[in-house]
């Protein structure tokens, strides 16, 4: 725990916590409360009702107790978590969004997963500049104030790391959708179209690619074809209404809707227009997909149609026993809107349409629900998304048949949770 001493170890999902603490340790305070209620004998008055609680009797803190509000202490277990063995050092590492604790489609700013290549850059916005140079009529420099004077737009987009679910290529490995699918967040951005900025500088006809570059110590850079740059890319300075968080690129980042998260350059300080791609580290040695014949795909930008059941899942077991039960999860596609989500409770033998609720936006998370009457028998839970292009989320076997085990990125296979009769869920693969 040396790296993150503030974390509460009790909520890290482990075999130990299941064995020692039972379900309450894994599920947190809310589960403990519900479990406590269920344990009452029939006809016994509920002390939650009959006893006077402190909050019924005494005044609480005043309006300025938390000038910037924070979650209830009962939600203290709802945090990003990392898997330290994945990377060499926390300064160049990743953590994961707690998908199983969220609902709706928006990811709260403090829970959006982080991936840095040289730590979080602390940038003074007064000293931040965005430069456009290369094959343009006039190379330009913008201050943050300049950027905020261009016409703005608000768009909700998912960001998924290309390596999300990358640890699962060789089989079920991590127990929790936070770890298997949590390199994902969905945010409403406010910003300026990159197209608007490029038009201000004037792209020359020979300009076919852009290089987006960050101001952090890794100098993160990615090549992006000009068609995408002039289409929907957004230079964003607000997330969910407030300034970007430092770990998400404050004061300004690039959004590349539907494409892999590594391209969404944070702390964006330069856009160069060129006639060829730059072939930098993150688009050659990384983010290329090794195939079984030893060759590799490059420029695999789009994130394919995908979904996952977030509840129940290994970190979010069912504690209420049989009866009316809600399965919920998220679905998304880099190719547009989600047309439909199917849910199977028998490992893919039979499927039912799930209900999508909330906004259905292109290249945004969609929230789905499937309500049913659980009889308490073991189930194999799966979800399968279909996007508006008609692309169907594949099985993991189909992906492995096409790509082998070593392509690391772009694993959008169907996830299976084995729901046991005691309500626990485990990450498995089925025939």
């Amino acid at each position: 725990m040396s790296k993150q001493p503030q974390k509460d170890k009790n909520f890290v999902p482990s075999r130990r916590s299941f064995l020692q603490g039972g379900l309450t340790a894994a599920g947190g305070a809310a589960v403990a409360a519900i479990g406590g209620g269920a344990a009452l004998a029939a006809g016994t008055p509920d002390p939650a009702i009959t006893e006077l609680k402190d909050w019924n009797q005494y005044s609480g803190p005043g309006v300025d107790a938390a000038p910037y509000g924070v979650p209830s202490p009962f939600e203290a277990h709802v945090v990003r978590r990392d898997v330290p063995w994945l990377t060499a050092d926390p300064i160049s590492s990743i953590n994961f969004t707690p998908l199983h604790e969220l609902d709706g489609i928006i990811t709260p700013n403090g829970l959006c997963f982080e991936r840095h290549h040289s730590g979080v850059a602390e940038v003074d916005p007064a000293e931040h500049r965005l430069m456009i140079n290369g094959l343009v009529d006039k190379p330009l420099v913008f201050t943050m104030q300049d950027l905020m004077r261009f016409p703005r737009e608000n768009r909700v987009y998912f960001l998924e790391c290309a390596a999300n679910s990358g640890m699962e290529w060789r089989g079920a490995q991590l127990n929790g959708c936070q770890f298997t699918h949590g390199m994902l967040h969905n945010v409403m951005y406010t910003g300026v179209r990159l197209r608007t900025l490029l038009e201000e500088a004037g792209v020359k006809p020979a300009g076919k690619w852009i290089l987006a570059e960050g101001a952090d110590a890794s100098g993160m850079g990615r090549s992006i074809p000009i068609e995408k740059a002039l289409d929907d890319c957004l230079v964003a300075f607000k997330m969910n209404g407030e300034a970007l968080r430092p770990e998400q690129g404050y004061p300004v980042r690039l959004c590349v809707p539907g494409w892999e998260g590594n391209m969404w350059v944070k702390w964006l300080r330069r856009i160069e227009v060129g006639d060829k791609p730059w072939q930098l580290r993150e688009e050659t040695s990384k983010y290329t997909d090794l195939m079984p014949d030893g060759r590799a795909r490059r420029f695999t930008w789009a994130m394919d149609v995908k979904s996952v059941i977030t509840n129940p899942s290994p970190q979010a077991p069912i504690t209420h026993g049989r009866g009316h039960t809600i399965i919920t999860g998220v679905a998304w596609s880099g190719h547009g809107k989600i047309k439909r989500v199917d849910v199977s409770i028998d490992g893919g033998r039979n499927w039912q349409h799930a209900r999508i609720d909330g906004p259905s936006l292109s290249r945004s998370l969609h929230r789905f629900y499937y309500e049913f009457n659980w009889d308490g028998s073991p189930l194999y839970l799966q979800s399968r998304a279909i996007d508006e292009q008609g692309y169907v989320q594949p099985t993991k076997d189909a992906l492995r048949a096409a790509r082998g085990d070593n392509s690391i990125y772009h694993n959008n296979g169907i996830q299976t949770w084995y729901l046991k009769s005691n309500g626990e869920a485990e990450n498995v693969e089925v025939s």
Partner: protein, 366 residues
Amino acid sequence: MSKFLKFTASIVLLGAAWATNANAQDADAGEKVFHKCAACHAVGEGAKNKVGPELNEIFGRVAGSLEDFKYSKAMTKAGEEGLVWDHDSLTEYLAKPRDYVKGTKMAFTGLKKDDEIANVIAYLATFSESAEQAAAEPESAPAAAAVETASTAEPAVNAADAVIPEHGVHHLGREALPEEIAAWDIDVRPDGVGLPVGSGTVADGGVLYDENCAVCHGVFGEGEGRWPVLSGGFDTLTADRPVKTIGSYWPFASTIFDYVHRAMPFGNARSLSADQTYAITAYLLYLNDIVTEEDFELSNETFSEISLPNKENFYPDDRLEEPNFATNVEPCMENCGDGPAEIVMRARILDVTPDGDEENGAGGID
């Protein structure tokens, strides 16, 4: 006009406040300096040894005395001869580690600025109970007040006097100066566009590599811990566990130069000159048998001679031609598959607690 004068005055005031505090130790500033150290050293609650020893209670510690850390012989000997870490010894050591303790394993070349040294020591002092209180003394109040003044002081311009540029559609921003573009535009492409004038030999690169790179990437590029492996791995791309290195996988040598020049060494980016970067790139090519002579000199002139062996084995994204995507048909809804579903694989890593490193995962995120 009067407001402009006021603004100028506050700048002067700010400058004076900073000048008087130039030598004051600032633990907060030191925390930032410590980023240069954090790749190898941990400090704070629960800190453990990494590539370098943990630094809690470093003040008063005899050099080379942590029992669970393997020091260089030189450091152990320095401790036996009486070296104890305190404000003065740390100040000298951090300026030039390898001059102060000849033979130390610490590859870091030293902090160049006195205030960085003072600040990082102040930061470390906050994790040492025995450190003198003075070392951790916070910034004096006037300096903080001056900073606040500066951040709110904006020169007020009469709106009607603002100059509107002629370029573009919205007439926003200003033209980038050639010096500004040169300062930031350091990217290098496979066709050599962007290479600065300069040169360096394999032999020079070896020395620089040992000083700056080997601590993480290993003496032969084999990689320490989970830090990237840079050499070898030939003919492993079809193996069960491919080893993707410069020699076995990377398509372009320009990527080495670009990345080392912009991002390495980790925690001290942009510190290598063009000549040093050519030398390190040459040495990495040597470690991968791409060049074989120690006197080989890589330069902007010779760069185009270099071709990496795996260059031809990359091809454009064709995922949408895979059967699963290409067919694009309505999926099966009822009685799919053969017989009832059965478990064929279970989660192999149930325990992902940070200390459970004896059972590392099968995959990686790279």
